[in-house]
Amino acid sequence: MAAPEGVRAGAEVRLQGLTKLFGPVVAVRDVSMTVPAGSFFTLLGPSGSGKTTTLMMIAGFVHPTHGVIAIDGSDVAALPPQKRDLGMVFQSYAVFPHLTVAKNVAFPLEIRHVPAAERRHRVGEALELVRLRGYEQRLPRQLSGGEQQRVALARALVFRPRVLLMDEPLGALDKKLRAHMQLELKAIQRQLHVTVIYVTHDQDEALTMSDRVAVMRDGRTEQIGAPAELYESPVSRFVADFVGDSNFVDAVVVSASADGRAVVRAEGGLELRGTARAPLQPGQRVVAAVRPEKIVAHEPLGADLNRCKGVVQQVVYAGDATRYSVAVGAAGTLIVKLQNRLASRPLAPGDLVALAWDPGDTRVFSHED
């Protein structure tokens, strides 16, 4: 199953104004996005954000109330799931328990009346791809969760679908195995050039695997972008909070320029500089956000930094780094993540500490964001 022979490059998937109502409940609201051909695209969101419903609409199991789903330019809204030619991997694996591994993987080929000899060949290739050679005659109940998930993956890829849909496929695996499967999935996706649409609520998974991520909230897309874009320039407090960790400080705008840069003042007079997505008005109530690892302590860097002093309250040691919670007066508490480097001097509760970070790492959100 090497890429050159016989593998169709992935298809582009375009969603336009996709909406799904379940009675009065809006599950998905006006979602539009383009998934580039051959890319790894993730729908990321908490439960109830509409990510799975969106995936199920692409798969054809849920009918959209309005909107267009186009695969390589042609609208598939009228096609039932079995005519869409999309591979799908389910959260519960959905490996057929009454069929052997080989029979499971051969299933889509049998449905398509692929001749027996070619079927055997392709089942072999697919099992090779997921490294399950030698497991042909096993029954699913004789396999571990990770192995069952590989069977499901081989089965979804063996008929060379244009798009592979995955619904929280690694959710049931333990942490180590999950990290391993993430790498393998990514490698397989690169090798086959298949378009992957991946649903998860795990932001680590989304950041490490995806070319692009759509963050979903309450049935809408909150932000679509590359992982670094989401992490470095979140458009809203929700994204800043959901993707990675952030400190949030309530503040009022002191002065603002047309390019979005602003000076804000927190409770207690702490002034911070940061950047907003859109120009702000002086006097407007906002939230300033900064990620724990962007803050440094004890390092007299350049003058152009946000600075504050605080008292260490809690120390949480995490091996490679230590997280400190630092009370910075009336502005509240900041979480600061410092790498445990050789020379670093550990802080203890009660220590007075000077903190600093780059205004460029400070995002300012208005309350509408």
């Binding site: 799931p81 079995q82 057929f96 052997t100 029979k103 299933f107 398509r112 029954l139």
Partner: protein, 277 residues
């Protein structure tokens, strides 16, 4: 699951009841079947000598098989709906399926006799709709017995099937669709084989219950639809030949057990095939 012997005593009440009211009387029947003024196999010889008993036994099995098949054909779609609709609707349907159990079997059988009689509702409609010119004979023949027994035994089939079907992960059928299977293919290749244990359990239950049926065939059957339970009843009630009644009962039990053993083997083998298939 851990099975240490500590909780075995919980079985005791059930075992005591089974022993006192089932195993002990069973031995009594066994004993009586070979005892009539001294130990003798005379009753068994009589059964073998007289063609009518074997014929009735054969008819009993035939009837049980007919009822089992019709209960399966009617019950499978019903169970499928029951297992796949929304939970609230499913609960309502279960109540409807179980409701007939709340009425006496005799009342229900008489109700069917009213419906199926030559002036009954069914015939009146058939004639009115022009589907038949004269009333059909739906009662006091095999058709009547099959209808009546299927009606009584259908819930056993439906509930057994539905409990297995409810255990089938709906994602499996979806997976089949996503892999290109049409509705029919998904049903045939995935749902049907996974519901096989329910089919096995339901048919076995209905078949065994059918073998001992008495009231329905007695009331709704014709002179040629005698089942073995009716013969046993006659020996007990009228000829007072308890020894012979016991013999018939033992034979019914023995044949049923043999049938069960064969069936069990077949189902087990089928499982094995699935694995190798």
């Amino acid at each position: 699951m851990k099975t240490d012997g500590r909780h075995v005593w919980l079985l005791l009440p059930a075992l005591l009841i089974l022993g006192a009211f089932f195993v002990y009387p069973l031995f009594g029947i066994l004993l009586r079947s070979v005892y009539k003024n001294g130990y003798t196999l005379e009753s068994y010889r009589q059964v073998v000598r007289t063609a009518v008993y074997l014929t009735v036994l054969g008819k009993t099995f035939e009837m049980a098989a007919l009822v089992t098949v019709s209960a399966l054909l009617l019950g499978y779609p019903l169970a499928y709906v029951l297992a796949t609709v929304r939970p609230r609707l499913a609960r309502l349907l279960v109540v409807i399926v179980v409701l007939p159990f709340l009425t006496s079997i005799i009342v229900r059988t008489y109700a069917w006799m009213v419906l199926l009689g030559s002036n009954g509702v069914v015939n009146q409609y058939l004639v009115a709709l022009g589907l038949t010119t004269a009333p059909l004979k739906l009662l006091y023949n095999r058709a009547g017995v099959v209808v009546g027994m299927t009606y009584v035994l259908l819930p056993f089939m439906v509930l057994t099937l539905a409990s297995v079907m409810r255990g089938i992960d709906p994602a499996l059928v979806r997976a089949a669709h996503s892999l290109g299977a049409s509705r029919w293919e998904a049903f045939r290749r995935v749902f049907l084989p996974l519901s096989a244990p329910g089919i096995a359990g339901g048919t076995l239950l209905v078949f065994i219950l059918s073998l001992g049926f008495f009231i329905t065939p007695a009331l709704m059957g014709g002179p040629s639809d005698i089942m073995i339970a009716m013969l046993i009843e006659r020996e007990v009630e009228f000829t007072l030949n308890w020894s012979f009644a016991s013999t018939l009962a033992v034979i019914l039990l023995a044949v049923t057990l043999v049938g069960f053993a064969v069936y069990y083997r077949v189902m087990r083998l089928e499982r094995l095939f699935e694995g190798l298939g």
